[in-house]
Amino acid sequence: MHDSSTTAVHEHHGEAHVAHNPALLHHFAEEQQQRNAASLGMWVFLATEVMFFGGLFCAYLVYRRWYFGDFAAASKSINMAMGATNTAVLICSSLTVVLAVWAAQTARRTLLIVSLILTMLLGMVFLGIKGIEYRDKFVEHHVPGASFSFENEPIPGHPGEYANPRHAQMFFSLYFVMTGLHALHMIIGLGIFTWLLIMAWKGRFSPEWHTPVEIGGLYWHFVDIVWIYLFPLLYLIDRHA
């Protein structure tokens, strides 16, 4: 979707020019400006992502209000334990991201590489668990479409009442679109971190210049935060009932 704005590739020009960090791009006057620009750029990009997911959250909230009972029944059928595990996994991965940034800031190359690898491993664990959940939904015929079936599912807290399959299907439609888009962002995040790993391995990052790690980290934190919202909204409807 969007790759980091700076690389460490340095283009030499014929003319003599002032010595500077090879990562400084020539249209910037100084490194601080380049760093600030990259940072602001990533924050602005994350604002657009908020709006992107925001539209989905809006649709979700509207239907949840209208079909609360049916959504509660549907929510019960997705695996809260797996969701909670995934939440823990992502929070840990945010920790490893913070470690990676610190490692870059303090010239700890090994820690940086280890943290990046751990982050990616945790991300893959997340995706793996998500894959299992999706498979479960497929097996239970909860995937919207021709073979969708949600008969005789009780509405929590309302004994004797059963969820309307059409409305439950709405839940699952939104569930798959929202978690699917989130997973797509995770995959992109893994791609970004692969590239960061390669760069870190080659020793490109230093305390003077490690901007890609910082802004890559920002992106990862954002994807994590989206999940923090998705989890209670999707998995925890009316659980106390």
Partner: protein
């Protein structure tokens, strides 16, 4: 020549005059604003055109002027807004006792059914001087019922009812257009509103009667077995429907709602979603088992057993849904358009 080159639509409803008055006001106000601005621009462009040796005068601005030309337009805008809102309220508030006509839109035709039972395709006969309320839904995509001569338009949606009303003032034939793009023959989804003098309208009605819509509804009510649970004599397994239309009802989750057309329709198609308090969730859904026309008939029937005036409706709120005020028509005698008196 003017017949072939009209510049203003006919006025044929009570609303048309109000809309046109606002429009003319807007034409005058915006015309004056435009004239003012254009005059100034042209004058300045000429008066201050470049002349050698004459330099421009650097003027930073003027807060006083900025405030003035913000405040005055804003006040004018508020007047326009308020006037527009007033006209809109009129347009969105069908009178009680309006004659009801059910409209089902489908690609690419208008199916009209009067409460008295007459059916029309792409035409709507109405008497002059009567309030008429259209209760509309679509079988497929979004359409829009537009009568330029009456200055009314309302989108017609699948899955719910929308309402519009008018009071025709001039006999004649007027355009009916679909005004929401709906596919291939969107331009062909046109028709006529035929406004007739009361006598001619009576004649037309009598010549086209199929029995009232509520009569068909009563038959369907029996055929589908609704009476098994919704008995009219005692409380059955389902709520007694006599008198329910237009009244506030309490739902299972504590919410209060008005039992309007949309609520009745929803209760037939999706009984679990807004169940009445105190009743078991045992009503089956009729989604896919009733057509839009049958739904209209059922709604008309339930309305007819709720009010002693089978022609009229309860007071309709500004949103087009029927509000919670109960009819106080009990005991009064009403005259149907064909002269019959009913209690």
């Amino acid at each position: 020549m003017l017949n072939n080159f009209p510049l203003w639509p006919q006025q044929a409803s009570t609303l048309a005059g109000h809309v046109d008055a606002l429009y003319i006001f807007l034409l005058i106000v915006t015309g004056m604003m435009a004239l003012l601005v254009f005059t100034l621009i042209i004058y300045f462009a000429a008066r201050y055109r470049y002349r050698p040796g004459v330099r421009a005068e650097q003027i930073e601005g003027s807060n006083a002027l900025e405030i003035t030309w913000s405040a005055i337009p804003f006040l004018i805008f508020m007047v326009i807004f308020a006037w527009g809102a007033l006209v809109f309220f009129k347009e969105r508030t069908p009178p009680t006792d309006a004659a009801e006509v059910y409209v089902v839109a489908k690609q690419w035709m208008w199916k009209v059914e009067h409460a008295e039972g007459q059916r029309e395709i792409n035409e709507l006969h109405v008497p002059v001087g009567r309030d008429v309320k259209l209760i509309m839904t679509s079988q497929d995509v979004i359409h829009s019922f537009y009568i330029p001569a009456f200055r009314i338009k309302q989108d017609v949606l699948p899955g719910r009812y929308t309402v519009e009303w008018f009071h025709a003032t001039k006999p004649g034939v007027y355009h009916l257009f679909c005004a929401e793009y709906c596919g291939t023959q969107h331009s062909g989804m046109v028709g006529s509103i035929i406004v007739q003098e009361p006598a001619q309208y009576e004649a037309w009605m009598n010549g086209n009667s199929n029995g009232p819509l509520s009569g068909s509804g009563e038959k369907i009510f029996a055929e589908l077995g609704c009476a098994t649970c919704h008995r009219s004599d005692i409380q059955g397994r389902g709520p007694n429907l006599v008198g329910v239309f237009g009244k506030p009802v309490q739902l299972d989750d504590g919410r209060m709602l008005t039992a309007d057309e949309n609520y009745l329709r929803e209760s037939i198609l999706d009984p679990g979603s807004k169940r009445l308090k105190g009743f078991q969730p045992i009503m089956p859904t009729f989604q896919g088992l009733v057509s839009e026309e049958q739904l209209n008939a059922l709604v008309a029937y339930i309305k007819s057993i709720s009010l002693s005036n089978p022609m009229g409706g309860a007071k309709t709120s500004a949103s087009g849904a029927v509000s919670g005020e109960s009819s106080d028509n009990e005991g009064k005698t009403h005259t149907l358009p064909n002269g019959t008196k009913v209690q």
